[in-house]
């Protein structure tokens, strides 16, 4: 749509447009794609004022937000809302939590204990869809199921990294009913209706009630028959989460994230697109932009800075005036200065910045001068994954154990490995953090033993033990346990706020502990818990009030500490890179030469460093900061949590690990305090020379 709107004949093309229908609206509006769409709609409304916009969604948390998003907003007036049509829901889904004879693991994500039972379930059904949260989980479960699959049930694999041809084959086989089960990630999440599926299995915690509803809806789209689904928690905390999700789905709760303010880098792209379509007046264009719900808070000053960004880069040092892409002309309109900028816009339109992907190709074993080339294409993997590998390492991909043979330009050359045990563990953690809503459910369940009846016996016993040995916090409390273990002092917090918020809190917490002289050595964060280990006795420090826990966890940590940490972190650089590409400061695609991901990384990192030092208030840094705080840092959630628990922190000083702390203690391993890791790599490489020099 953005491309059509930027065409010279956009006005004649769209002037007769009557209706715009947006399917799965809830999934569109919370991303940068949604921002671009919102701006596109505001443009359409300017061209064809009478258009009707219709949004469809089966999973809406706040219907009013979507209603407002669909219609134009006027400044300083109450929100305008679209009409709403509610369709009666179908039959209540039949969802169960998988029950195994074996005990449920304390930690980990493999759910290995359940595989035999899952095969039996598959055998009983016509067609089963098995959903997991990550690609690597899909690979692992697929290969493990086949290891046990004595009956040779036709089971296939489907995820976004596989070659498109292979994916289409699986989809066709599914449609023809030639498969009994498909292991899939979210690539199969939305859209197509697969008809004959009579069971959906979800391995791992569903992370959000809306996601669960979406995935269960995959089974059986006939409204009159109940859908059947099976949840398979991979560890004990996931049992709690699954139970909370189950409760949520039965009561019809939804928890899509709220719509945030529209991104400035996306606006910059839209501004250039507007100029490509033809000259525009800033006043009229501003009114049009703020009529979009996501941009209703945008003030004129910021809007003008975005125009300036598009025109000459938005720098205080006016170095690029004479190279401006758009210029204010004598008749008061902004105009494109050269048609080649239109061409560049068309090549770079869109908001999806891929993390650099490498093609995986089957080749021969490396002999002497590197890998043998020329085999079949298996799919794509993220560049960072290959960066850690050396020749001979084995990993799971496309359902096979592959041996890494080397890299050739943008291709990873692999061979089939003889061993069946991949050496590189591929689990990288789920992309989606525990939703706020489910977190509340889990906290509620923990504090209320009368609700434990629904839980499997090992989990019930576990919680009861915790009650005996330590305590279970009330829903609005934060439990903090301290205990010594193997010469170190551990600090375990149970906020249940999701991995992203915990990661951020962990970073800030270690900074503060450092400042109080408590010598933090590292931390680990999961969706449920944060564990920090220190060289100093934190338990006794808190007991003495040096510092008190409430001082340590004061909301002011989101001020200076956050600022200082962000200055050193790589996170903002990554965000900045995406913003710089979307805003058109650097090009994703240039005519003639496609830059490789690596080249772009180097230059945007350098640009970031220079910009941060010389113009820290630049609008793209502001955009990167906004992205980081809403996306990767989950700052809003963290700050909500810090104010929620203020005055309600319960410290339990123990002389040994508590039952609730066992899962996190099992996860603790290689994590380090951030920032040091890179220097460690260099120090290790240099060690050799130091020994030699000192000998």
């Amino acid at each position: 749509m953005a491309l059509l709107l930027a065409g010279r004949d956009a006005e004649t093309f769209f002037e007769d447009l009557k209706t715009v229908i947006l399917d799965e609206l809830h999934a569109l509006v919370t991303s940068k794609r949604g921002d671009l769409l919102a701006l596109g709609l505001s443009r359409l409304r300017a061209i064809a004022p009478a258009i009707r916009t219709v949004g469809l969604s089966a999973t809406v948390a706040e219907p009013d937000e979507l209603r407002a998003w669909l219609v134009p907003q006027a400044p300083d007036e109450p929100l305008a809302l679209s009409e709403i049509v509610t369709v009666k829901g179908g039959a209540r889904p039949d969802i169960r939590i998988f029950e195994a004879d074996e005990t449920i693991p304390w930690a980990g994500h493999s759910a290995r204990y359940a595989y035999q039972g899952l095969l039996e379930e598959i055998d009983r059904r016509r067609m089963t869809l098995i959903f997991v949260n990550t690609r690597s989980q899909a690979e692992m479960i697929f290969s493990e199921l086949w290891r046990l699959n004595d009956a040779n049930l036709p089971i296939a694999l489907h995820h976004g990294s596989l070659d498109v041809g292979q994916r289409r084959k699986v989809e066709a086989a599914m449609a023809d009913g030639r498969l009994r089960a498909v292991v899939a990630t979210s690539t199969l999440d939305l859209g197509i209706d697969w008809g004959d599926i009579d069971l959906v299995i979800h391995v791992g915690a569903p992370k959000g009630a809306s996601r669960l509803a979406q995935r269960v809806g995959r089974a059986n789209h006939r409204m009159d028959e109940p859908s059947t689904a099976l949840l398979v928690p991979a560890n004990r905390f996931e049992v709690l989460e699954c139970q909370a999700a189950l409760d949520a789905n039965y009561i019809g709760a939804q928890d899509t994230p709220p719509i945030r303010d529209g991104a400035l880098d996306v606006l910059a792209q839209h501004v250039l697109g507007r100029a490509v379509a033809g000259p525009f007046r800033a006043d009229e264009f501003y009114a049009e932009v703020v009529s979009a719900y996501s941009y209703r808070h945008l003030d004129r000053e910021r809007f003008d800075r975005v125009i300036d960004l598009v025109a000459t880069g938005g720098y205080a040092l006016r170095a690029y005036e004479r190279y401006a892409k758009i210029k204010l002309t004598a008749d008061g309109t902004w105009r494109l200065t050269h048609p080649r900028f239109a061409q560049a816009y068309r090549l770079n339109v869109g908001t999806i910045i891929e993390s650099p992907m490498l093609k995986v190709r089957l080749g021969g074993k490396a002999r002497g001068r590197g890998p043998v080339m020329g085999g079949r294409l298996l799919g794509e993997v993220e560049e960072y994954f290959c960066e850690q590998m050396k020749v001979g390492d084995t990993f799971l991909f496309a359902g096979e154990v592959l041996r890494f043979e080397g890299m050739r330009e943008t291709e990873v050359i692999v061979s089939r490995a003889r061993s069946s045990d991949p050496r590189i563990p591929v689990y990288a953690g789920g992309k989606f953090p525990l939703s706020t809503f489910l977190a509340a459910g889990v906290r509620q369940m923990l504090s209320d033993p009368s609700s434990w009846g629904k839980l499997p016996a090992p989990v019930r016993d576990w919680l009861a033990l915790q009650q005996d040995h330590s305590l279970l916090p009330k829903p609005d409390e934060l439990l903090v346990e301290t205990f010594p273990h193997r010469g170190r002092f551990f600090l375990v917090l149970y906020p249940f706020e999701g991995r992203l918020a915990h990661q951020t809190l962990g970073m800030l917490l270690t900074r503060r502990l450092e400042r109080f002289g408590l010598k933090p050595l590292g931390f680990i964060a999961t969706d449920y818990v944060i564990g920090v280990w220190c060289a100093a006795d934190v338990g006794s420090a808190f007991t003495l009030g040096e510092p008190t826990l409430s001082r340590l966890l004061e909301p002011d940590m989101l001020g200076d500490d956050l600022e200082a940490w962000m200055a050193e972190s790589y996170l903002l650089k990554r965000m900045f890179k995406a913003c710089a590409m979307i805003a058109g400061l650097v090009e994703k695609n240039a005519i003639g030469a496609q830059k490789t991901g690596r080249q772009v990384t180097v230059s945007t990192d350098l640009i970031y460093d220079v910009l941060r030092e010389h113009q820290p208030d630049h609008i793209l840094l502001e955009a990167a900061w906004a992205d980081a705080s809403s996306g990767l840092l989950d700052l809003r959630r963290l700050s909500d949590m810090l104010s929620r628990i203020s005055g309600r922190i319960v410290h339990k000083r123990l002389d040994r690990i508590s039952p609730l702390a066992v899962p996190i203690m099992l996860e603790i391993g290689g994590e380090r305090v951030a920032g040091e890791a890179d220097e460690d790599v260099l120090r290790q490489a240099a060690d050799e020379i130091i020994r030699e020099a000192m000998a």
Binding site: G314, A319, Y320, K325, V602, S603, I607, H614, E679, I689
Partner: protein
């Protein structure tokens, strides 16, 4: 067979104080990216690429126009700290022929002050074959001092005592995760300097362009990171 003269402790080798024997000259690879030869009170800096940012800007890629400022600030810091009598700018000091004309007045002033602060030599590079006008300093194609010869582009094959830039060397190391940094590379006989400019990237020392320049077994990359220098043997190098 080591190119190091060991200092008093780990830190001496890794950070300051450690002198390196380069074809008989005792030089230091400074963490800022300049080569320092204390005995001769000589400082060498390669590939400043001043006004690289504005050369992009002219093509509609509005990267921040502050690279010259950042580069000069870093160079001023190094010169102020090491107090050389002589400075050699090892070519590609300006990103293109028009770069000098695009310097912001304040940057031009700072650069002129730097050039005036020492006996300054401009070695010609491929980006800037002509000497800058009106900035002072002596333009040369190359120059020799004691056992060392300074030129922009390294000669093919072994060139004993050569100190050059041009290739923007960088090295990548690591076992479980990898780290890539700008680096001095030297086998004790010749040396390539990392590019100093704020917008200059690095070329992996495993690249074909470095082939045949060094004696592999004695090759060390002095990687620059976070104000420190990490010497790393060629056995540790990874390709990109």
């Amino acid at each position: 067979m080591t190119a190091l003269r060991a200092g008093q402790g780990d830190d001496d080798v890794l950070t300051t104080g450690g002198l390196v024997n380069l074809n008989g000259a005792a030089v230091r690879f400074d963490a800022s990216g300049v080569l320092h030869w204390p005995e001769e009170r000589l400082l060498v800096v390669a590939d400043l690429h001043l006004e690289k940012g504005s050369s992009h800007g002219a093509r509609g890629r509005f990267v921040p126009p502050y690279d010259t400022r950042a580069t000069l600030r870093a160079l001023t810091e190094a010169i102020g700290r090491l107090r050389p009598e002589r400075v050699i700018a090892l070519g590609d000091s300006f990103h293109d022929g028009g770069a000098e004309g695009r310097l912001a007045p304040a940057d031009l002033e700072n650069l002129a002050a730097l050039v005036g602060s020492a006996d300054w030599t401009w070695v010609a590079g491929n980006h800037d074959p002509l000497p800058p006008a009106g900035l002072g300093g002596t333009p040369v194609a190359e120059m020799a001092v004691g056992p060392l010869v300074f030129r922009h582009e390294p000669r093919a094959g072994r060139a004993v005592g050569e100190v050059a830039g041009h290739l923007h060397p960088a090295a990548k190391v690591g076992r479980t995760r990898s780290v890539r940094r700008r680096a001095f590379v030297s086998d004790g006989s010749r040396c390539l300097l990392p590019a100093f400019g704020a917008y200059t990237g690095g070329l992996n020392v495993m690249d074909a362009a470095f082939k045949g320049l060094f004696e592999r077994s004695r090759l060390i990359a002095w990687m620059l990171s976070d104000g420190r220098v990490y010497p790393v043997r060629s056995a540790e190098f990874l390709p990109d």
